[in-house]
Amino acid sequence: MEVERRKLRQLSPVDQPRSPDELRVRQLRARDLLRDELAGQDLERHVEERVLTTTLERAQNWARSNAMWPATFGLACCAIEMMSMVGARYDTARYGAEVFRASPRQADMLILSGRVAIKMAPVIRRIYDQMLEPKWVLAMGACSSSGGMFANYAVVQGADKFVPVDIHIPGCPPRPEALMHGILKLQRQIQGQPDLGWRQRYNAIGTEEWSRRPPAGELTPHTGDAPSVGPPGPNGGGLR
């Protein structure tokens, strides 16, 4: 078995066709496959050349990391750099993070671009809560990372006081390259080491949306005492 595999590997390291004839042969094989006429040795050859195997998690992480949609959300001057990152000169579309969505329901990355006033913090938290899992937060610039120059009564000293931040980007403001570097770091984190996510760091395993749903056995039938739809009770819940 092992010998056979090695033989196969020797036979099939071909990624690029080495000659126009070989390319023609591959094209004919692909045509036969579509016509359902490919069989035997040719079929095996085709599978060896054209099929890539991986694990589901890796494929999922690859897809997630290459299509992160940021929320359209600018806080201060860093947002100017964030906007220029999307433009033609820097073109973050190359990394799949250019689709700014105006609804948090469609976004999965929140770029905190600027200082966070204490009046803004609950708003950001609500937007973060409205985003669908999996979601990531980038603290862009000194102000959202640590308060920066705004060491005063009005500004939250570090956005990680109220949302879990995945990547801190230094700079005042960071250049668009720095922001793209942060996005690349986040991509590498998602692809290679998803265990480095914030749930592990903040010891928050089990707070995902799907795990917060009560088990089926605990759902009690409606008794009529408490309205099923209406203002939230003393235990919270409902709309926040």
Binding site: S146, F150, A154, V155
Partner: protein, 176 residues
């Protein structure tokens, strides 16, 4: 802009009409200002707005300053503008701090100048000066549940110390 003698004339006329309304004047950087008794704010502003020859009909700004430890502690500044002559005149109401946690009070001038409504809310928000007769005196910029008057000089400035290399020696063992 009234020059220094013109300012004195305005002060004199005001004191003839309202006894003791103007306590002093100052003329600095080409701009004059009247320092007035905070109880006579409405009299002075109304006279400056309606008297022929004065007609400062536009309130371009209303703001406050905390002069602690000076006395009286607060100064509510009214910046008036006469559009016809393009003349500016400052009016400063010197408001003492009542102490004991009570808030200083001034009459609201929203009936004279409707634009003062938001200005007075801002002054209330940051300095805790209550404007009597204001239609809707609430905080305007800070959160509604905020406590304290953040631009007063005795308010803690806030923020957190950040570790840099220059103050690293002051916190030995910070890495532990």
């Amino acid at each position: 802009m009234p020059d220094a003698p013109g300012l004195e004339l305005i002060a004199q006329e005001l004191n003839e009409g309202f006894e003791g309304a103007v306590t002093s004047t100052y003329f600095e950087h080409g701009q004059g200002a009247l320092v007035i008794d905070p109880e006579r704010v409405l009299d002075v502003l109304g006279w400056l707005r309606d008297t022929p020859g004065q007609e400062y009909r536009f309130l371009s700004s209303l703001h406050c300053a905390d002069y602690m430890p000076g006395e009286p502690r607060f100064g509510v500044h009214y910046e008036l503008l006469c559009m016809q002559r393009v003349e500016r005149l400052g009016v400063k109401a010197a408001v003492p701090d009542p102490g004991d946690g009570e808030l200083p009070q001034v009459d609201s001038c929203t009936n004279l100048f409707p634009t003062a409504e938001f200005h007075e809310r801002e002054v209330y928000d940051f300095f805790g000066i209550v404007f009597r007769g204001h239609p809707d005196l609430r905080r305007i910029l800070m959160p509604e549940d905020y406590e304290g008057w953040p631009l007063r000089r005795d308010f803690p400035i806030g923020g957190e110390p950040v570790l840099f290399t220059h103050n690293e020696v002051e916190t030995p063992g910070w890495w532990e």
